[in-house]
């Protein structure tokens, strides 16, 4: 298995290289100019030219690319054009909010969705099944920002139970850390809950029609044991795949939630960098997120071996 792990990690290198080249070219071939944004609304062209020259943005593209790649090979993602601070440091400062949101959302979705999916499969065709699946369709249909504003209006403004916005670090105050994460977790988690519940139900329905389930029931095993020990364990592989992909999508896709709840995470860092054309930050974040995607996929593949002894690498 270690050979497989090493091979997969090595396979990351060409993937990252392609990502690096594509991202660099897309950004640098676009007509936007960070110097104009730095100079400000009332700047004259000569000021903008001077800033462009100072930042080295007027040099040939190939030179800029080679310099960037050279730094990249030494683990240096460069520095933000605007903040003059290392990209790695900026990403580091933003990891906690995004990771915290991804973890709480995943826990929320898994804890809610798997039981709901199992119950829906168990009660397939009844009003319980229809209710759960109906709610899942609703959760799918509402955009995250709408759910977010609705939650803020109800739970924060009207009932004053939770804060509207912001993030507090776990190390600073664990209670406020949790309080600030409740609304964004629900807003972001409902879609994943719906997805996971439907996936669990579909997989469980397939498993529940298998011969060995019929045999377990014929032996007089209790419903709970049949569902959890025999059926759910065998349905775990597609469910884990969905959870894993969900985490990867969460990390890359929390922009809207982070914006609605003013959470200073990686999503907000990316969108701010894109709006300001802060090339090194955009490049750095995309590379980092691509790396996380690859690692999560590897982790999912390795989890299969634990869940299904027939799978070996």
């Amino acid at each position: 298995m270690w050979v497989y792990v090493i091979r997969r990690i090595l396979a990351v290198i060409p993937v990252m290289a392609v990502v690096a080249v594509v991202v660099f070219l897309i950004l640098h071939l676009s007509p936007e100019d960070p110097a104009a944004i730095i100079a400000g609304d009332n700047a004259k062209s000569e000021d903008i030219d001077a800033i462009r020259q100072r930042l080295g943005l007027d040099r040939p593209l190939l030179i800029q690319f080679l310099e960037w790649v050279g730094r990249l090979l030494t683990g240096d993602l460069g520095s933000s054009i605007f903040l003059n601070r290392p990209v790695l440091q900026l990403i580091g400062e933003r990891v906690e909010p995004t990771a915290a949101l991804a973890v709480t959302t995943t826990i929320f979705s898994v804890v809610l969705a798997i039981p709901l999916g199992v119950v829906a499969a168990w009660k397939a065709g009844t009003w319980i099944d229809q209710l759960i699946m109906g709610l899942a369709v609703l959760a799918f249909s509402f955009p995250v920002f709408l759910i977010g504003y609705g939650l803020v209006y109800g739970l924060a403004l009207e009932w004053e139970l939770l804060p509207v916005q912001g993030f507090v670090s776990l190390s600073e105050d664990p209670g406020r850390f949790l309080a600030h994460l409740v609304l964004p977790t629900i807003a972001l988690g409902l879609v994943y809950t719906a997805l996971l519940a439907r996936m669990t139900r579909a997989t469980m329905l397939e498993i529940l029609n298998e011969d060995y389930i019929r045999t377990a029931r014929a032996k007089g095993l209790a419903n709970g044991r049949v569902l959890i020990v025999h059926a759910l364990k065998n349905a775990a592989v597609p469910i884990v795949t969905t959870v894993g992909v969900g985490i990867a999508l969460l990390i890359g896709g929390v922009v809207v939630t982070e914006s609605v709840f003013a959470i200073p995470g990686v999503g907000r860092l990316t969108i701010d960098a894109v709006l300001q054309r802060d090339y090194p930050v955009i490049q750095g974040v995309i590379l980092a997120v691509a790396g996380v995607y690859v690692l999560i996929n590897l982790a999912i593949d390795l989890t299969y071996t634990v869940l299904d002894p027939r799978i070996r690498y």
Binding site: E32, A36, S45, A156, D173, A179, P264, L275
Partner: protein
């Protein structure tokens, strides 16, 4: 209990635990504050900390907190001594001698000296246009002693104090070692002598900027008035929060999580005014001027007649309805290039702008040689106010028979593109919209988009050297009556030359919690004199 029931019980317990977890999280209250903290949502993220390096408004406002100025404007827009204690001018108006107030310190505890101020002025004048103009008149700038410096001019100049006390991008004073940094290089140390200290360790770009009260600041004894007088910090800590989503910022203000909302969208004002826990305050007596900027480099707008045609398509009230909405916040008409409500307000020459006349616009465009070519209008879809103004212009241009090529983009792209001198169909443009405001706009030498010095003008490159000569003449004159006469000639010429078209003048109010007192009408959001009750 049967297995079936056990399973149901398990599901119920599972749900209850989840609910309990959520409830527990909701019951945790924030700790009581040990000091007075004012939390303000600002209009932009503070990224650049050097007020000389950029003209960004947010950096300018950061500058006002941590730095101080030699002079500051009062509510009559007259420069008043701020760091300066006393000053004299020679009879021939060529030598100005300034003495600093005693007891002023930098945030690092060192005394403020004349050498610091001289170095700060020299660095600022390398970048700031009004300072550049003054610098062209300066023979020498010398340190006399630790608290005195002398400015000697080659010839008399009427705007020395106005330049030292200008409101936008003023010369902020820094310690000499910092001020000696090249003007094209960002400073890396942020030590001022202003009423607040920048707390670098707590700065989280994209999220929060923290300032704390400077205990050793010695405010002037005069009452605070606009940007002059005593700058008394009445809160211990100031937090600037960057919340880009306006709905979230509004909710945070309503919930009491923030105290001060710097630039609420104008369509929120009615909602805010109805909330008894909030106050909506107009802090800017002059307001904001809408600017429709044609590109003077290319046909048809390289011909004054085509630019004059633009005057005839604009009906300011239509723009203000689209951009602002609430009639309390805008003027029905303002034809003054140098702001209605200022000393330099004038209506001379503004007749073409007063009455919309599409037939006249068509005629002038024809005389300018326009023959149905596409006119590239840049539309910034992510800036609500500029977007609304652009849409009114597009509609009016079409009514005047113009073949409009609307190019939608975000504001950052527009900023990049408007700086390019390429032809309109090769990455350039014909028209964009922007705004400006405050006392600087009210002065011919400092009005950004009025600058008609061709290559040296701002994007759009207005080019009328005759107009520039008049501005020069105005700047040399120190007699107010004579200045007024020159100003009227300037405005008359401007309506022939049309550096830009004014599409309206309006106010951007701020919103604060009801317990926030002492907000100054200083044109821009400033945070001294404010207390929480």
């Amino acid at each position: 209990m049967s297995e079936h029931r056990k399973f149901r019980f398990g599901v119920a317990v599972h749900g209850a635990l989840l609910a309990a977890g959520v409830a527990a999280a909701t019951m945790v209250a924030p700790p009581a504050a040990a000091e007075t903290t004012l939390k303000a949502v600002v209009h932009a993220d503070l990224k650049i900390l050097d007020p000389v390096w950029t003209t960004a408004f947010i950096t300018n406002r950061h500058g006002y907190l941590i730095y101080d100025n030699l002079f500051g404007l009062n509510s009559k827009f007259e420069p008043q001594p701020q760091m300066v204690d006393k000053w004299t001018v020679s009879a021939d108006k060529l030598t100005y001698t300034f003495t600093l107030r005693p007891g002023m310190k930098w945030h690092d505890g060192m005394p403020v000296t004349a050498a610091d101020c001289v170095a700060s002025l020299l660095r600022s004048w390398k970048r700031e246009p009004m300072g550049q103009r003054l610098a062209s008149f300066v023979a020498s700038l010398d340190v006399v002693d630790a608290s005195t410096f002398r400015l000697t001019l080659k010839e008399a100049y009427g705007l020395v104090l106005e330049t030292l006390g200008k409101a936008a991008t003023p010369a902020f004073m820094m310690p000499e070692r910092i001020a000696k940094t090249d003007a094209m290089t960002q400073i890396t140390e942020y030590v001022g002598s202003g009423p607040f200290i920048f707390v670098k360790d707590e700065w989280r770009p994209g999220n929060k900027v923290v300032y704390r009260k400077f205990a050793d600041y010695v405010p002037r004894k005069e009452k605070a008035d606009y940007l002059s007088g005593g700058k008394v910090a009445k809160v211990d800590r100031l937090e600037w929060l960057y919340i880009p989503d306006h709905n979230t910022a509004l909710s945070a203000l309503q919930a009491g999580e923030i105290d001060y909302y710097e630039a609420p969208p104008l369509d929120f004002v009615a909602v805010l005014e109805k909330n008894p826990k909030l106050q909506v305050i107009d802090i800017d007596p002059l307001g904001t001027q809408g600017v429709l900027r044609p590109n003077h480099l290319y046909p048809p707008f390289n011909n004054p007649k085509a630019r004059q045609a633009l005057l005839h398509i604009v009906k300011q009230e239509d723009y203000m309805r689209a951009v602002v909405g609430n009639p309390r916040l805008y003027r029905k008409f303002c034809g003054a290039y140098f702001m209605c409500g200022s000393d330099n307000e004038s209506d001379v020459g503004a007749e073409p702008l007063r009455k919309q006349d599409f037939a006249k616009a068509k005629q002038l465009l024809k005389e300018a040689g326009y023959n149905g070519e596409k006119i590239v209008v840049m539309q910034p879809t992510d800036r609500a106010q500029y977007n609304a103004a652009t849409m009114v212009t597009i509609q009016n241009l079409r009514k005047a028979g113009v073949n409009v090529d609307v190019q939608a983009m975000d504001w950052s792209t527009l900023l990049s593109r408007r700086a390019k001198k390429d032809p309109p169909y090769e990455g350039g443009y014909h028209i964009f919209h922007t705004t400006q405001g405050g006392p600087d706009t009210a002065m011919p030498v400092a009005n950004t988009w009025f600058n008609s010095r061709c290559e040296k003008a701002n994007p759009g490159w207005a080019c009328d050297l005759e107009l520039d000569k008049l501005v020069e003449e105005w700047s040399r004159e120190s007699d107010r009556t004579k200045r007024k006469a020159i100003l009227e000639r300037i405005q008359k010429r401007a309506y022939e030359s049309v550096p830009y078209v004014i599409y309206g003048q309006y106010t951007q109010p701020i919103a604060v919690r009801a317990n926030v007192k002492g907000v100054l009408k200083a044109g821009i959001p400033i945070y001294w004199n404010i207390e929480k009750q």
